[in-house]
């Protein structure tokens, strides 16, 4: 199987996702999250007391807003990687999209749960069909669907193409979620940070920025870890298949498509255990 030279972006991604990079990101994530906890729970002052402000309750914002931001970021990466996959056909873009989508689903789910915990004391209900909440729930379902689509085919190339289309089309919901508080009236408050206007006190803004940075570093760590899991799972499958295919496992890992059997079916379909990125 002929291998092509990796592009500059792919080389940069490779360096970032090396084991050392993963460890550095892990340590940085722990430090940044610890700083976030101290800033959010101890240093940042409470809001004005109710009914004018939210008192201490607003501190949930420091985990809720970064979770939502990370969901946007994750699905943005899925969007870009899906386009790159359709353009180049290289499986590493597909693996990146799959890894980012899974992390995005975790953070979208977390943002919904945290919003619910905040909504109960603030609005008196755990859930309401507010435009922001509804569009976020739809976003969550779209990317759960994306992960489901990845399980539909054992043919890596077909699976990658289908998933890339869902990843590109599904991204259309992200701006809708973001602008839903401006377009429609609902219970959810408007944007807290809408440059150049920031409605928060400077110390609260600084804490929010630290929190956003910490969660972004955590995303970097989770992404490198998830990519390593994808590579290891592919390697395990390649090791299992290599005697049957008469090729070394290393030759199978980076192939875009594994060889087909005599009937033209991909060999993986016989096993029913396609490499899940």
């Amino acid at each position: 199987m002929a291998t092509t030279k990796p592009s500059q972006a792919e080389r940069a991604l490779g360096k970032l996702t090396a084991r050392t990079g993963e460890r550095v990101l892990g340590v940085l994530s722990i430090a940044a999250l610890a700083a976030t906890a101290v800033m959010s729970l101890v240093v940042a002052p409470p809001d004005r007391p109710p009914p004018v402000g939210q008192g201490d309750l607003y501190r949930i914002m420091y985990v809720h807003v970064p979770s939502a931001w990370l969901a946007y970021l994750c699905f943005g990466v899925v969007f870009v990687a899906s386009i790159a996959y359709l353009k180049t056909g290289r499986s590493r873009w597909d693996r990146l999209a799959a890894a980012s989508a899974e992390i995005g689903v975790v953070f979208t789910g977390l943002a919904i749960v945290l919003g619910s915990i905040w909504g109960k004391p603030a609005w008196g209900t755990w859930w309401t069909w507010d435009p922001r909440l509804t569009t976020t729930a739809i976003l969550f379902l779209i990317y759960v669907g994306y992960l489901a689509v990845r399980k539909l085919s054992d043919n890596p190339r077909r699976r990658g193409r289908w998933a890339a289309v869902v990843g590109i089309v599904g991204f259309a919901d992200v701006p809708i979620v973001h602008l839903s508080v401006t377009w429609w009236r609902g219970l959810h408050q408007g944007p807290t940070v809408k440059l150049p206007t920031i409605t928060l006190a400077p110390i609260m803004t600084a804490t929010l920025m630290i929190s956003l940075t910490a969660f972004t570093i955590l995303y970097g760590y989770l992404l490198t870890l998830r990519l390593r899991v994808g590579r290891l799972e592919e390697r395990a499958l390649a090791e299992a298949l290599s005697p049957r295919l008469g090729q070394p496992a290393s030759a199978l890992v980076d192939q875009d498509e594994l060889p087909a059997d005599g009937n033209g079916r991909p060999v993986l379909e016989e096993q029913g255990t396609g490499p899940r990125a």
Binding site: A37, L41, P49, P50, G55, D56, L57, R59, I60, V63, H64, S67, I103, V106, G109, L110, V113, L114, I117, W118, K120, P121, L218, L222, L225, R226, R228, V229, L232, E233, R235, A236, E239, A240, P243, A249
Partner: protein, 65 residues
């Protein structure tokens, strides 16, 4: 008294939110690490089994002294 109770009530929600965040993120990292470990072991087991099959029983491989 009422404001104190309201304050304690708010603290419960704040703690719930932060604990949920820690459990979800910590749990996800643990799941990923376990998946990585399992995949590595699976690959190593396949290689070891293949070597046992390829090498006749009782005969040491060239790598062994």
């Amino acid at each position: 008294m009422r404001s104190v109770l309201a304050h304690i009530n708010d603290l419960g929600y704040i703690v719930a939110a932060w604990v949920t965040t820690a459990v979800v993120l910590g749990g996800y990292v643990a799941v990923l690490l376990a998946r990585a470990r399992r995949a590595r072991r699976r690959a190593e087991a396949v290689v070891a089994r293949r070597e046992r099959v390829v090498r006749p029983a009782g005969r040491p491989s060239r790598a062994e002294p």
